[in-house]
């Protein structure tokens, strides 16, 4: 059972709610599908507002604490909105040895950004991720869907200036 009416939320429009309903309906009877549902819904909305967590728990007939417990356990789910462009810096060992720390420091200074935070104009959010498995390119930075290798501090700023 889903709600008859959708909760109001500024970041979720009617189209998104429709897709969310479809995802819930498709997974309702599959045991253990909550992580899949959360992931697909986050792909649609961009993050995981509390209203959405509640809606999913209602739709899957699970308790809110259970769904919130799962969502808060996994690094993939974010309760905060993201910037227009997502910068993911690889904090794997190879990238660390090759100096990603210096690159991150420079990005933070340059854009007045914190690890895990968003710039005030919502242009960028910065996430440190565990190994991306592209150690041959270390240090690695991924902006939205584009992967960049050998990003020393200067190069990182140069690349990021292209994303408005």
């Amino acid at each position: 059972m889903s709600h008859d009416t959708h909760p109001q939320h500024p970041d979720i429009d009617d189209d998104m709610w429709k897709k969310i309903d479809e995802i819930i309906a498709a997974n309702r009877d599959i045991p253990g599908s909550v992580i899949t549902v959360l992931r697909q819904c986050q792909d649609i909305v961009g993050y995981m507002p509390v209203e959405l967590v509640d809606y999913i728990s209602y739709g899957l007939n699970l308790s809110r604490s259970e769904v919130y417990g799962v969502a808060s356990f996994y690094a993939l789910f974010s309760f905060e909105p993201k910037g227009r462009h997502l910068i993911r810096v690889c904090m794997g060992t190879a990238c660390y040895v090759k100096g990603i720390k210096e690159t991150v420091n420079r990005i933070c200074n340059h854009f007045d950004l914190k690890e895990g935070g968003v710039t005030e104009d919502r242009r960028f959010s910065l996430e440190a991720v565990r190994c991306l498995g592209a150690c041959g390119l270390a240090p690695v930075m991924v902006v939205d869907q584009d992967t960049y290798g050998a990003v020393k501090a200067d190069k990182a700023i140069e690349i990021l200036e292209k994303y408005k």
Partner: protein, 595 residues
């Protein structure tokens, strides 16, 4: 059918993708068409070739010529010279960094010549998205043999004879694991593949999945037959989109060919596989946590026994094997356990795939027979340390492993021998570190990782790793006290002895191994308030050594906040008021003059 005279095996792994192999692919295709060669020369996109350092790479078959660092603008010249006139293009061939010799043939390049491809036998040779190519390389023959000619007991016996041990890190004998699960009573059983490759600096499983997904499926079908399971799951990292996509294609094709589903190959045996995407939690690499995660719960480990072979996923008997382990199975069934056991050491058989990275020339995937020395891997295959820097340590086993110094480089790759020198075989991440790496900072890095990934269920891991991290941070920031070293050691052993799962039991290893081999660095941080590798920012003075400074002005030009003053033929000076300690000048100065 048209005769194809040449096949171009262009690497389509994650590394080469990021180096824009796609653009080169398009440029090359266009050029082949323009020259009217598109019918006789085919481009085939393969999985990860392994030599990621020089990507994008391409192998020309049947000649075996290896091209590297290919850019779209190279396509016209390459097609004209090589494919029209038959002259390989020298500037795109591999040059050995030490001897400066150009080596055109792939198998002669030292990086490949010292390797032995069993698990990665199909990498760069087949198109991973076409099942027929896998079958042409004897693919699924082992499934046919296992289902039609062997009893489950015989399969298990063969795997036991091979001596294959779990490649995920712990090294538990695979055949024994299967035997336990087979003997467990129950109608419903599961086979799981652990593709949640979480160790930072490890990318073997990703490459196997991208280059040869069917080999993993084949291993799972055989495992299922051995324990009599009918459903399997592959638990894959969500950070590996390409691997997940290729697995999806492989599963679909296998179903179409009757290799998955009901009545496989007419044998009456049913088995199917689904992919389950993780959501970013390192601890889910632990077997019981992984099963909780598939059940849609928080990925927290539980005490063992009961072992998963008795009570696993949904409380049913379950076998969980790592990607690389499963990729070995088909070969063992086809060639026999004796054949497999003929390579390796007394207790470790077969080959092992390593992800070689860090401060080493030839970054990439390396598969060597068990018993090969670390020195061979780093120097002969890896090509040594770049920029004439000195080797300091090699890190094996990720956050659960340890650092091995120069004096133990002749240690062979063998589960027991590596444990003896304070590291673990682990899943296969090998990270080389040069003299510029601070070992205290490395221990801090790993502890930061472990405490962040600790699931919080048991106190020793949740609280203990946080305290370890605080101590290490204190030392890196120059506030270390002499008694901290004893506390570090004591706390590490306590966590190892009392934590619930493998994460906590092995988490302190990076601290213990650096304390064992690099105690002098800890002492320099504590007693002299000095970081010998110049990596710990809080211990740096940001001053210029007048004797070492060559007055070149590079630091002046690179400073983003104009904190450095310099004039020609004068020593640079750093204004500490303006300096934001971003380390750019440290990176740029080639003379180590800033301290």
């Amino acid at each position: 059918m048209n005769k194809v005279r040449t096949q171009l095996m262009l690497c389509g792994g994650t590394g080469c993708h990021a180096n824009d192999s796609q653009a080169f692919h398009e440029a090359l295709q266009k050029e082949l068409e323009r020259q009217g060669l598109a019918e006789e020369i085919k481009i085939i996109e393969t999985g990860c070739n392994g030599f990621c350092a020089v990507g994008p790479v391409m192998l020309v078959q049947p000649e075996g010529i290896f091209y590297q660092k290919l850019r779209p603008e190279d396509a016209p010249h390459l097609v004209e010279e090589h494919f029209l006139k038959g002259r390989p293009v020298k500037k795109l061939l591999y040059v050995e960094p030490t001897s400066k010799e150009t080596i055109p043939i792939m198998t002669k390049i030292p990086f490949f010549a010292h390797q032995m491809f069993w698990v990665m036998r199909n990498k760069g040779v087949i198109d991973p998205e076409v099942i027929d190519e896998y079958i042409a390389r004897d693919g699924y023959f082992a499934v046919a043999k296992a289902l039609k000619e062997m009893t489950p007991e015989q399969i298990i016996e063969e795997v036991k004879t091979s001596g294959l041990r779990g490649r995920g890190g712990a090294g538990f004998p695979t055949g024994l694991k299967w035997e336990f699960a087979r003997r467990s009573p129950g109608e419903i059983k599961y086979v799981l593949c652990n593709a949640d490759e979480g160790d930072p600096g490890a990318f073997m499983d990703r490459s196997v999945l991208e280059a040869d997904p069917h080999a993993v499926l084949e291993g799972m079908i055989i495992a299922a037959r051995a324990i009599d399971a009918h459903q399997g799951y592959i638990y894959a990292r969500t950070e590996y989109p390409l691997a997940i996509r290729r697995l999806g294609i492989a599963i679909k094709q296998a179903r179409e060919y009757g290799l998955l589903g009901t009545d496989i190959l007419g044998s009456g045996f049913d088995f199917d596989i689904d992919i389950y995407q993780g959501a970013g939690a390192f601890v889910c690499g632990e077997e019981t946590a992984l099963m909780r995660s598939i059940e849609g719960r928080r990925g927290m480990p539980r005490p063992r026994p009961p072992f998963p072979a008795v009570k696993g996923l949904w409380e049913k008997p379950t076998v969980l094997n790592n990607v690389e382990t499963l990729a070995n199975i088909a070969q063992i069934i086809l060639n026999g356990g004796q054949w497999y056991a003929s390579v390796g050491t007394e207790t470790s058989k077969g080959t092992k795939v390593f992800a070689l990275s860090g401060d080493v020339n030839n970054i990439g995937l390396v598969e060597v027979p068990m018993g090969t020395s670390l020195r061979t891997i780093i120097y002969d295959i890896g090509g040594g340390i770049p920029n004439k820097k000195k080797f300091k340590a090699v890190q094996l086993g990720g956050p659960s492993g340890g650092c091995i110094p120069e004096q133990h480089l002749d240690t062979p790759v063998d589960y027991e021998a590596i444990a003896k020198v304070g590291a673990i075989m682990g899943s296969g991440g090998v990270i080389v570190m040069d003299e510029n790496t601070c070992m205290v900072d490395m221990a801090r890095f790993f502890m930061d990782f472990v405490q962040d990934e600790s699931c919080g269920k048991c106190t020793p891991c949740r609280e203990g790793t946080r305290r370890l991290l605080q101590l290490l941070e204190k030392i890196c920031e120059g506030r270390g006290e002499p008694e901290d070293l004893d506390t570090l050691e004591q706390l590490s052993y306590t966590i190892k002895d009392t934590a619930l799962c493998g994460l906590g039991q092995t988490g302190p290893n990076p601290v213990l191994s650096t304390l064992r081999y690099f105690r002098d660095e800890y002492e320099a941080h504590i007693y002299e308030k000095r970081c010998p590798a110049k990596r710990c920012v809080a211990l740096l003075k940001f001053e210029v050594d007048e004797d070492l400074c060559t007055r070149c002005g590079v630091c002046f030009r690179s400073c983003p906040v104009e904190a450095i003053t310099w004039k020609k033929k004068e020593v640079a000076r750093i204004d500490k008021e303006k300096c934001i300690k971003c380390m750019t000048c440290f990176e740029k100065c080639r003379f180590g003059a800033i301290f």
